[in-house]
Structures are given as C-alpha cells and as structure tokens.
C-alpha cells in the first residue's frame, strides 16, 4: 500500500532536475498505440524535454500486435532501448502476456480492462484497470480508447498537462487530426479523471 501512496504522490511533484521516465505501450495494430507514443514523445519534445521513440517493426500484420517504447528525460538519453520499462500501457491479452514479466518491480501497469480479460499475475506492481473502450464510447467513439489510456497515464505521471498534449496533437498530426481533436481530448480528460479517482480510492482504502 505504501508503494501505491508513493505512486499517487508522484503525480503532484515531479522533480525537474532529475526527470526521467520510460514506458512501453502494446496492443493490436490499429488501436493507436504507436500514435499515442509519438504524440507523447512529440509533446514532451515541444515542452523542452529529451525524448526517444522506438517502434516494434517486426513482420506484423493487420490485427497483429504492435508496441513502442518512449523515453522522456531532461538530460540526453543514453539508451533508448528499454528491457524493463517503468510503466506499461496494455491493450490486449497477448501483450499482457508478453510484457507483464518485463515491467520493472514497483512499476505501474495500465490495462484496458474492456479488452484485457486475463488478470495480471505479479504482486510487486501497481495495476490501474481502465475500461477504456467504455470511457471512450462515452466521449463519443471507441476509437479514442488509446487517448483514454494516455490521459490515465499522464494523470499519474504528471510530466505533461492536457494543453501540452492538445498542442502536440495539432502540431504533429496536422489538419487531419484537427477534425477529431474534440473527441480525442475529451477521451483524454475522461481517462485522466478515471485515473485520478482510482488513485484517490487506493489512497483511502
């Protein structure tokens, strides 16, 4: 429980001198995990931070699994290759199976609980289960489940705020992205709110 409180406390005070974090996000191709990875890294770059983004580029097919790893720091990034990430965002069962064993001890596992039906097995990690499909549906479209997860993540690891993500969204993805901005940012906010409520519940329990 102490670990959870520390995690929750971390979202209010990020020490700007020693900022370093990394995460891997994984799911089916088409769920927009590469998208949120790029969005996060690009927005962090615009906020003056150092970033790297590495995709999986295996012989994947539509509907197969895809993943990417992002490192964010305020000093030059040495290794962009991360075997054991501090955080995971997981959007399907095969990815949970592949990545849960690699999560750093004490790390946080965000799962889309509408799609990840297998339970996480490790006891040394914090699990944040977000019904991202439902939340996205309530924002106006299930396709924005990726943004729900990103919102949930950033509510916990407060390295960027909503306006920075919104700026990144428009800058990096251009006019095409602008059409879906409202839906995506609404999904982001609902994800963040869900995560904050989850954090509060855990603190009180």
């Amino acid at each position: 429980m102490k670990q959870q409180q520390l995690e929750c406390a971390a979202n209010t005070a990020v020490d700007s001198r020693t900022l370093y974090t990394n995460l891997t996000m994984a799911g089916f191709g088409g769920q927009g995990l590469m998208f949120i990875g790029k969005l996060l890294a690009f927005s962090a770059m615009k906020a003056g931070l150092q970033v790297s983004w590495i995709p999986s580029y295996g012989p994947e097919m539509r509907g197969g699994t895809a993943n990417c790893t992002v490192v964010i720091a305020n000093e030059p990034i040495a290794s962009p290759v991360i075997r054991s990430p501090e955080t995971l965002i997981i959007m399907n069962n095969p990815s949970l199976e592949a990545f849960e064993p690699r999560l750093k001890s004490g790390g946080t596992l965000f799962v889309n609980s509408n799609l990840v039906t297998c339970p996480a097995t490790r006891k040394d990690i914090e699990v944040v289960a977000v019904p991202a499909d439902e939340v996205a549906q309530s924002a106006g479209g299930r396709k924005a489940a990726n943004m729900v997860m990103l919102g949930a993540y950033l509510a916990k690891v407060a390295i960027l705020d909503k306006s920075q993500i919104e700026y990144g969204f428009l800058e990096f993805f251009g006019s095409k992205a602008a059409q879906t901005l409202d839906l995506n940012m609404k999904a982001f906010s609902l994800g963040a709110a869900f995560s904050q409520a989850d954090c509060k519940t855990k603190k009180e329990s």
């Binding site: 790029k38 890294a41 690009f42 770059m45 150092q50 970033v51 790297s52 983004w53 590495i54 995709p55 580029y57 295996g58 012989p59 990034i77 040495a78 290794s79 962009p80 290759v81 991360i82 075997r83 054991s84 990096f172």
Partner: protein
C-alpha cells in the same frame, strides 16, 4: 532552430538533400524503406531524380554513373541488399568516385531477419568487394548524429574522392528523436574537373577501372593506399568517463548508447568504467585504443554480432590490456542490464 521529430531514416534523407544530394537510386528493403520513401517525394520537387531500380545491383551502377558525372548521389539498403552492391562499390572505389551509401544493418547471414544487427562490420570496413580498397565508414548512435554525419559523409566523399558508408542498424533507422538541421558551413567547392560533364572545348575525361598493365595497376593501388593513409586525419571517437577508468567498454552505434546507460549504472556502484565509441569504423581509431590500453586493465567489446570490431580492438590494444567480448546476434538487442552484468563478471 526548430526541433523536428523524425525517424533516423527520414533524418538521413533530409540531411542528404540539405547537403546537395539530388540523386538517389535504390531498391526497397526493411528496415530502411523510409529513406527511399522520403527521397521519392522530395527529389522530384527539387528537380533531382529518384529512381527505384530493378535491383540493388542496377541501383549501385546508377550511383556510379551519377557520381561519374560529378553529382552528389546516394543509395541506401540493408544487409542482403548491401551485399548485392559490393561489386559496384569496388568499381566506384577503384574509379575514385565520391558517393554515400547507407546500410541499416539487419540480422544475417543470408536473408536473415529484419531486426537490428551489427554483423556487417567486416564487410563495411575491410573492403566488402574484391580488390585492395576501403570505404570510409561512419557509425551514428543518435538521430541527431546521423544528421551531422550524413553532411560530413558527402564532404568526406568529395574530399577523398571515395565512397562513404553510413553504417547504422534497424534501431537508428526506425527510431524517432528530436533533430535540428543546423545551417552547415557551405561545403567548399571540391575540384570536379575529372567529372564526365561534357568535353566540349577540353580534352575528354576517362573514368575506368581496367588496368591491364600490372605496373600501372600497382601504381593505381598505391595511390589508393596513400589515400587510405591520409584518411586517418579524419578519425573520430567519443571518450566517455575514460579518464580514471580501469576498464572500458568499446561499442559503436546503437549498442554504444545502450552501453552508456550500463556505464552510468556501474559508476553509481563505484566501478571505474568508461566507454570508447568509435565514430569512424574505417579508418579505425587505433591510436586512441593504443593510448588508453597503457592505463587500463581490460576492454570489453560489445557488439550486435559474434565478434567483428573486437578484432580491430585487439590489433590496436596489441596485448597491452586484456580484451573481452560480449555479443548478441540475429536481431537480439542487448539490454543495459545485460551489458552491466557482463562487465561485472569481467571485473574478476
């Protein structure tokens, strides 16, 4: 200067264009396809030429032609495709033509796989094709460095009239990082009076690689060797925390970055370890290794191969320090935890 967020492949393509490269010939292969993709959009807009050839072999001879005409020209491929270009590279080196070739290495041998690798070190640095020749080989470890080395590659190619290889791997190609395209000092005007630019009003130029008279061929080879000796003035290496190091890791490209984190972890534990990162693989920074071997106990060479650069390190160190090796291959990328653990084993 605005920071852009680009893959290594795109960044190299853009850097080439900014260096005045208007001609690109290639054939698709993963993990470098973003280079031809980028070139196919930009070069026609700029009045240059992009051509997807019928094969890597055709592409390298198109490079031969454009370089012979005095143009800045580039091709790129990945391991199996680079093997196909070797004959042409031997001809280009023999004909003393400047060009830039990118190899985003993937696991071999044969068709191998598409994941990152460094197993073409021998091929890149020792000649690759037939005959006594070398490429000038640059190994970037970040996307930003890939940009600056691409600019340098074109200058080095013109300076020495030689083919230059940028040796990356799947990670460098696919990874996205912030990049700035600083205004490079304008390349000096290199003498291209040798080029086949139309002989009206002057004696015709001849570009050839056939010397049937052994006396002449030996002279030609000696001239090439002389050039390879001169290239040593452009040797480059990064020393990281080496001053008080008792043991150093030697690695290049992507692996050097991973090893840098391993060094940081080990330093936190009080272990006096440093990193030597060759940036030019040919000419190899022998002198730097020789010098550091005098004051360290051991070098641990880490590669994504089963031991290629380690041979040059051994030559350089020449018994003055112990040389150990750790490698992963087939597309497996070693983690920094793995490298740190290996170094700790090597302490005893």
């Amino acid at each position: 200067m605005e920071k852009l967020f680009m893959t290594g492949n795109e960044a190299i393509a853009e850097a080439a264009i900014r260096s005045g490269c208007l001609y690109y010939f290639g054939y698709p292969i993963t993990p470098q396809n973003e280079i031809p993709e980028y070139m196919s959009t930009r070069l026609p807009e700029l009045g240059g030429a992009f051509l997807q050839a019928e094969s890597e072999i055709a592409a390298i001879y198109m490079v031969y032609g454009a370089a012979g005409a005095g143009m800045r020209v580039m091709s790129s491929s990945s391991s199996p495709g680079i093997s196909l270009k070797q004959e042409g590279l031997s001809y280009i080196a023999a004909a003393e033509l400047p060009c830039v070739i990118v190899n985003m290495m993937r696991g071999g041998p044969g068709l191998g796989g598409i994941q990152p690798s460094q197993s073409d070190y021998f091929q890149a640095t020792k000649g690759g094709g037939h005959g006594d020749y070398h490429l000038f080989v640059l190994a970037p470890s970040t996307v930003q460095e890939a940009v600056s080395l691409t600019g340098d590659a074109f200058d080095i190619a013109d300076k020495y009239r030689t083919p230059v290889m940028i040796l990356g791997d799947g990670i460098i190609g696919q990874m996205m990082e912030p990049v700035e395209f600083e205004q490079r000092p304008r390349s000096k005007e290199y003498d291209k009076s040798w080029a086949l630019s139309g002989a009206k009003g002057r004696p015709r130029n001849v570009i050839k690689t056939l010397y049937l008279d052994p006396q002449k061929l030996e002279q030609h080879n000696l001239k090439l060797q002389d050039k390879y000796q001169k290239m040593k003035e452009d040797v480059r290496i990064e020393h990281y925390l080496c001053d008080d190091a008792e043991i150093v890791i030697a690695a290049y490209g992507t692996v050097a970055r991973i090893a840098k984190t391993a060094v940081q972890i080990l330093r936190d534990k009080g272990i006096k370890v440093g990193l030597l990162r060759p940036i030019t693989l040919y000419p190899f920074p022998y002198d730097h290794f020789q010098e550091i071997a005098e004051r360290i106990r051991k070098v641990l060479v880490v590669e994504m191969s089963l031991g290629q650069m380690v041979e040059d390190v051994k030559l350089a160190v020449n018994g003055k320090a112990e040389v150990a090796f750790y490698g992963r291959t087939g597309g497996i990328v070693p983690s920094y935890e793995e490298i740190a653990a290996e170094l700790e084993k090597q302490l005893f």
